[in-house]
Symmetry: C2
Subunit: 86 residues, 2 copies
């Protein structure tokens, strides 16, 4: 069975985020002055073929930890999976 997962990789709190600051800097010129704490991270979608959703999720967890994120400076979160047609 194929399962589609989404992984969110975010910079840890306290670390400087230049991309977020750039967006914050652009907002007032567009008329938005009520926005704070903009943080930019990654969104990764992928399809895993596995016997069960539990097995697929465990693998995504390991991939997120070992490949998709840098655990020193980033956190990750895995969104609920959905089954996809084979």
């Amino acid at each position: 069975m194929k399962h589609r997962f989404e992984v969110l990789v975010t910079l840890r709190p306290g670390l400087l985020d230049p991309q977020g600051k750039a967006i914050e800097g652009a907002l007032p010129a567009m008329g938005w002055t009520n926005v704070r704490d903009v943080r930019v991270g990654k969104h990764i979608a992928l399809t895993v073929e596995a016997d069960s959703v539990e097995a697929a999720r465990a693998q995504v967890e390991e991939m997120a930890r070992r490949l998709l994120s840098n655990p020193v400076i980033e956190d990750y979160r895995i969104l609920d999976a959905r089954e996809v047609p084979a």
Copy 2:
């Protein structure tokens, strides 16, 4: 009231995603051969101060369309907001 939103910006289907391909290329060497269709996008978190969550969400929608994404090549999705302490 302050509301924290998350915006996911993804490349439209059919468009070439070199970052996703790079991840896919790295997977077999780590023992994972059952992963397909890796797509890399952006995750943007931000705090909006507004009278209601509806007003805040409408603004995030407009920001996602006009600033955070490139509508020609990207789609966006807004995750449910949560209230944050003032």
